[in-house]
Amino acid sequence: MTVTATPVREEAVPEPAAGRRLIDKVFKARELAVAAVLLVMLGATQLSNTEFLSEQGIKDLLLNATILVLVATGQAVVVITRNVDLSVGSVLGISAFAAGTYLQDGGSSLIAILLAVALGALFGALNGALVSLGKVPALVVTLGTLYIVRGIDSIWVGSQQITADDLPNGFVDFGHDGIWVVPYLALLALAVLAAVGYYLRSYRSGREMYALGSSPEAATLAGVPVRKRIMTAYVLCGALAGLAGALYLARFGNVDSATGSGYELTVVSAVVVGGVAFTGGSGSVYGAALGALLLTSINSVLPAIGVSSVWVTAINGILLLLAIAVDRILALRVAAVLRKQAAQLRSARHA
């Protein structure tokens, strides 16, 4: 066939106004929906109970969120690579106990924290190895390690427990002190969050995690070192679960063989609410952190406005559903609006 036609698409699409583009972006940002829900909720609670956002209240909110934020950050990274780590609760538990045992014998706080992080990273590496080398479904593998680590933990811990009495005072104080209303633990979590977020956004290897989650085949063809990236994600997730374990110890001053059991569901909820898709490749750790903040805040809001604890579970579930449903409906609306805009643009060009 002889091609005589001149190239067709020479008339460039008019560059959309920068302002509109910004608005689109803002509307598309799922994090915003979560943040809005959070603010409305906190505001409303403050109106009905002025104690809620008192100095102590804010401190409590931040402290409560800290541990979940850390674990959710790690989980989000794993989920972005289209995997999942269900063993985080077990890893948190065993790392907390390890740190506690070390401190009980008179160790230093810093080394205890590092120990917990290292132990967590070790279990993360185990998960990562099983998932990436075996190329097997992460859900099953980490459900397996959830049981295995919990089992090892209960055999090791037995009926022992670490109580505040066993811990150095400095460590326990670190668990609740802070600078004005911002506890040290929250500062630490924030720093970790920012670092991980920045890494994912601004480094090749971080971008490759998104690529990998978005399409594993395409990632292989693009030369992304798939195993290495999955490994990194799991090690990071494990390490953060370990860190969270150490902070749990500082915060609650108490660890036994059941510490952290069932935590995986809370973490997964936080990640989901925060808009990180389980199909991989989308969402951000900031979203996951906001999700974590939202979930823990609900648990503080309900008692604070005097809702009987009998209702808490139900309201929790319904709010979770509302959060994801509203987010989804907003997204659909925005998509429809954008489609209409495109139509107008096109017919304007057509005319």
Partner: protein, 508 residues
């Protein structure tokens, strides 16, 4: 001008390469040499082993025997990354994009320009992408996510990606299958420039005229075996076909004359906001109506809305007098409608299921007795159609994803022809199908029309439209811009309507 085999060392070469998948011997001792500054074509029927050969070159498959030579030295690519680092850029037959990432990131993944401290320079990624698109004459937004791009746009992104490498070797597996003439022309322009700058090019296409336009030398494969490597000068299309098929070929567009009957498909003022507007047309029994247009004109969208997989905002669709409920493909099927979709991997086939089950998916009404599956009926229905369409397979229970691209396309056709539709919509029915089979598909469509089936054929292959259609509808930016009779329809008139430079012919 003749092109004798250059005396220099080939940039990239295969020597005696074999590759088997289980019992299937996809490549048997094949050799191939790519020289700097030369465009080399690879020809062969569906399933001949072309894609497999490319994957061996690109480090996706490790050859069972034989070697890959880079600058005359044997190399072992342990993965696509190795090949890429050696300067080999590949466009695979099926686009492999990251749907969640922006087009720009897709192109530069793993190679993003960096700023201090190894941070990715997002701005220059975007700028470089815009430059590439300008070079190719594509008006995609670099920030747009890859999800939702049409097959053609995906293919363009893949092309941009391959060009961005400034590679020594550019390998393209059917890059033009989804493209219309103008994009192909642009692509060829760019590729010629690259070749003149000293790149070696390997090019696969089932459109033989493209091979003659672009390439200097051709290698032919048949059933995984090497047949010939020769200059294209002095070769005719018929010679090439004979090498590929081993026999002479029937007429490519065997249009039978048919008597058109009553209106079978009637579409009235169909609108889906932002996608297409006010589309009305009829297709009569016994008629083949071509739907032409540029990539992105919205043809596939119309087909999908008619069939009911997409909803529409206004208008109505009637099949043989029955008004269809929007958004209900099962009812459309019951009314006698069938749609062969454009994206066989995502829409046409369940890639992880067997050939038999895939064909069976549309035939539950025929293959159930008292609510239970009748395995025998299911099997014979599938065998029947797989054989009629000459699908090349080892066993009917094989997973459809292991078939070659063209054979997958045949399975999609089989799946829908088996429903004995009254109205058949085919969207790019011969995309990726070899010349031999293409003629077969055309004969089949003709025969169906002769039997009184109403056929709506969407195709980006203009000769196919002109050769097959009784009537041609042309779409431009979501609207019908022309309706041409077979006599009126020429390359010029269709292209004019497709690019919106027309007043001739009025919208139906």
């Amino acid at each position: 001008m003749t092109h004798p085999e250059p005396e220099t060392t080939p940039v990239l070469a295969l020597e005696g390469v074999s590759k088997s998948f289980g019992a299937v011997r996809a490549l048997r001792g094949v050799s191939l040499r790519l020289y700097a500054g030369e465009a080399h074509a690879l020809a062969g029927e569906n399933g001949a082993g072309k894609s497999t050969l490319i994957k061996a070159l690109a480090g996706v498959h490790r050859p069972d025997t034989g070697t890959v030579l880079l600058d005359g030295e044997p190399v072992e690519f342990h993965g696509p990354a190795d090949a890429r680092d050696a300067g080999v850029a590949v466009i695979y037959q099926e686009p492999t994009l990251f749907p969640d990432l922006s087009v720009a990131e897709n192109i530069f993944m793993g190679r993003q320009p960096r700023r201090a401290l190894g941070r990715v320079d997002h701005a220059s990624v975007r700028r470089a992408t815009a430059d590439l698109f300008a070079r190719l004459g594509v008006d995609l937004d670099p920030d747009q996510p890859a999800r939702g791009l049409s097959i053609a746009d995906q293919q363009l992104v893949e092309i941009a990606k391959a060009l961005s490498f400034d590679a020594r070797v550019l390998i393209m597996d059917e890059p033009t299958a989804a493209l219309t003439g103008s994009e192909v022309a642009r692509l060829f322009g760019v590729v010629r420039t690259l070749r003149e700058q000293g790149a070696a090019v390997l090019f696969i296409s089932h459109r033989l005229e493209e091979i003659f336009q672009l390439c200097q030398r051709v290698t032919t494969l048949r059933d995984g075996a090497w047949i010939a490597s020769e200059p294209l000068d002095g070769l005719t299309e018929d010679d090439l076909v004979r090498r590929m098929v081993g026999r002479d070929l029937a007429e490519l567009y065997p249009k039978q004359d048919t008597r058109t009957g009553e209106v079978a498909l009637s579409v009235r003022r169909l609108t889906r906001e932002g996608v297409f507007t006010d589309v009305s047309f009829d297709v009569r029994r016994g008629e083949i109506v071509g739907l032409a247009g540029l990539v992105g004109a919205g043809r596939s969208e119309v087909a999908r809305a008619v069939f009911g997989v997409d909803r529409f905002d206004g208008g109505e669709v009637e099949v043989l007098g029955t008004r269809l409920k929007p958004g209900a493909p099962s009812l459309a099927m019951a009314a006698g409608l069938a749609l062969v979709p454009e994206d066989r991997r995502a829409q046409g086939l369940v890639m992880d299921m067997s050939i038999e089950r895939n064909i069976g998916l549309t035939g539950f009404a025929d293959t159930t007795r008292a609510g239970l599956m009748n395995r025998k009926a299911e099997r014979s229905r599938s065998v029947d159609w797989a054989v009629r369409l000459q699908v090349k397979y080892a066993r009917l229970g094989d997973v459809v994803g292991t078939l070659s691209g063209g054979n997958q396309q045949k399975v999609v056709l089989a799946k829908w022809l088996a429903t004995a539709p009254q109205v058949l919509i085919v969207d790019e029915p011969t995309r990726g199908i070899d010349v031999g089979t293409k003629a077969e598909v055309h004969r089949l469509l003709s025969a169906l029309a002769a039997e009184g089936v109403a056929v709506l054929m969407i195709s980006s292959d203009l000769p196919e439209i002109l050769g097959m259609a009784d009537r041609v509808l042309v779409m431009h930016e979501g609207r019908l811009s022309a309706e041409l009779t077979r006599a009126e329809a020429t390359e010029e008139s269709v292209m004019a309507a497709a690019t919106g430079r027309t007043n001739q012919g009025s919208a139906a």
